[in-house]
């Protein structure tokens, strides 16, 4: 199977306001296969958002290559196809809404790439259904909750035909209910529609539900693996300014005190089971 996303030796260098050279990404290699749900975690300034912007050619490599279904982002002829394949959802829902009616907002993308009207109708209906927002299709987006606005943004990428959605801290500005809505929507789209998901977050409880967690620091991928593998490395995460989930931290401390516990505990239920 061909990877959806293939990052090879990606380096991103820019000149900051003080005229110094900053290496935001340093020789990154990463492959993401169709249908994968990959969480990316890392401290502020670790390069997560820069990486995300390379995945649909909003940024271009200083060195190395980013290929989306084999299409190199450096070739301008590929840009339209790349951006239809990989959709982006950003942190602030208010910055992503362009229309005054929900369904018009979702239709904006397909209209722009010249999809026929009947086809747009189908795509918009399907997309709104997929994010469970059909009931709101004639509402004004600015009156919706943060979680609902983000789901509209997700529907917008689906209507464009995105096979892969990259979300850059999509829940950072949402209330607890909104956070749950977004996470469950993405898990469902991943499972039912086989959408490939790259999910950047500071919330470890969200990253725990991914297939794979990639840990970044100072523009490099430090380690990656299943949530179980990554989040049981409590001390390493802390050194990188990150935090393991509470259950993993408590298990780590209990083990230090001499309690025998299974090695890779990361959820509350797993820790509780060890006491059952």
């Amino acid at each position: 199977m061909e990877p959806v996303i293939e990052v090879q030796g990606l380096t991103h260098v820019y000149i900051d306001a003080e005229n110094t050279k900053v290496t935001a990404l340093d020789n990154i290699d990463l492959q993401i296969m169709p249908g994968e749900f990959v969480a990316v975690i890392g401290a502020n300034g670790s390069g997560k958002s820069t990486l995300a912007r390379h995945l649909n050619a909003l940024l271009l490599p200083s060195e190395g290559h980013v290929k989306i279904k084999g299409m190199d982002t450096m070739e301008e002829d590929n840009l339209w196809d790349i951006r239809q394949t990989v959709g982006m959802v950003f942190q602030n829902p208010d910055n992503q809404i362009v229309a005054a009616i929900v369904e018009e907002d979702v239709a904006f993308g397909p209209e722009n790439i010249g999809v026929l009207p009947e086809e747009i109708r189908t795509r918009v209906d399907d997309a709104l259904k997929a994010v469970d927002m059909t009931a709101y299709r004639t509402h004004a987006p600015h009156l919706l909750s943060g979680g609902q606005k983000q789901r509209i943004a997700i529907a917008g990428t689906l209507a464009l035909g995105s096979e892969c959605i990259v979300l850059d801290e999509p829940t950072a500005m949402l209330d607890p209910k909104g956070r749950k809505e977004i996470l469950s929507t993405m898990l469902r789209l991943n499972k039912e529609k086989k959408i490939t998901v790259v999910y950047i977050t500071h919330f470890m409880v969200e990253a725990m539900l991914a297939d794979r967690v990639v840990v970044m620091s100072e523009g490099k991928i430090r380690f990656q693996g299943t949530p179980r593998e990554v989040f049981s490395r409590v001390e390493e995460l802390e050194r990188l300014g990150l935090e393991a989930p509470l259950a993993a931290k408590v298990a780590f401390e209990l083990r230090k005190s001499g309690m025998k516990l299974p090695k890779e505990i990361i959820t509350n239920e797993e820790l509780a089971a060890a006491f059952g």
């Binding site: 950072a172 949402l174 209910k177 509780a272 006491f275």
Partner: protein, 285 residues
């Protein structure tokens, strides 16, 4: 000393088809030296509430005051009162505007009418407070800094105004755990050493549980719960979930352990206590 809302209602765009009553007859007193968390879902009215508290919005009905001074007044006294309430907005780093860190922080004190020496002292003090070295950063462009550093500059700009009351809107949104701890270390120092009252709007149950001494839950324009975070999270779990809120992870873990028969006391509000209790039950050191 206290800030007070008396029967405050606030209506957006009254008399239009978009009329919306965002606050409904709220009465509230926050004393100097308190640390209050305000939680509620998007659109619950919590932002409207804090904007009425600091005089950015004036009540449609009722009265907002600071030490008896009506905040909606045009008098010098009212202006002074508003100046004692600092506000750090959501993503304050987006509001930096000056060419240097120094000028950005000096803007507030200068507007208060302080002279050069006083302003200079305030800037130095505020930078030290948020842990930004004066020599290194004062002359740099705020836009050349990292997100976490920019947020510190923004907080320094408010600290430099020496507020008695500080309102923070989502201070930890978008920050990694390390940066969040750094920001809260500063907030706690203001709270403890200067006795600044902190009013924090947050979507993070963890932040509310860890730092606040009092928690207000806003729903549909009203304050439906007002109590100590520890007690609210214990006793009002159902109600919190119903209004789109949650309980901190440590409460969930403690519940999961209790379900498996581990006997734990009721009052477990932080990870340290939880760990100590498990160890005690299991005879570990």
């Amino acid at each position: 000393m206290s800030m007070k809302l008396e029967h405050v209602s606030y209506t957006y765009m009254p008399g239009t088809p978009y009329e919306k009553e965002a606050l409904k007859d709220i009465s509230l007193e926050i004393k100097k030296g308190e640390f209050v968390a305000v939680i509620g879902h998007t659109g619950s009215g919590k932002s409207t509430l804090v904007q009425n508290l600091n005089g950015l919005l004036h009540p449609t009905k009722g009265n907002a005051s600071l030490d008896g001074v009506d905040l909606s007044g045009k008098s010098n006294e009212a202006k002074m009162a508003r100046g004692r309430i600092g506000m750090v907005f959501q993503y304050p780093e987006h509001q930096l505007f000056a060419e240097t860190v120094y000028e950005d922080i000096a803007f507030g004190p200068q507007n208060l009418g302080l002279n050069y020496e006083e302003t200079d002292a305030r800037v130095k003090d505020a930078m030290k407070f948020v842990g930004l070295d004066f020599e290194t950063y004062a002359g740099r462009s705020p836009f050349s800094l990292s997100g976490g550093q920019m947020r510190r500059v923004a907080i320094a700009g408010v600290v430099a105004m020496n507020p008695d009351y500080l309102i923070l809107d989502e201070p930890s949104a978008g920050l990694d755990p390390g940066s969040r701890d750094a920001v809260f270390a500063e907030v706690m120092e203001l709270y403890k050493k200067r006795g600044t009252a902190i009013i924090m709007v947050t979507h993070s149950m963890e932040d509310a549980a860890q730092f606040a001494k009092r928690m207000l839950v806003v729903y549909d324009g009203r304050i439906i719960i007002d109590g100590k975070p520890g007690e609210v999270f214990l006793k009002e779990k159902e109600q919190l979930l119903k209004v789109g809120m949650d309980v901190p992870e440590v409460y969930k873990l403690a519940d999961a352990l209790r379900d498996k028969g581990l006997r734990l006391p009721k009052e477990i509000t932080d990870a340290k206590t939880l760990l100590a209790e498990i160890k005690r039950r299991k005879g570990l050191r």
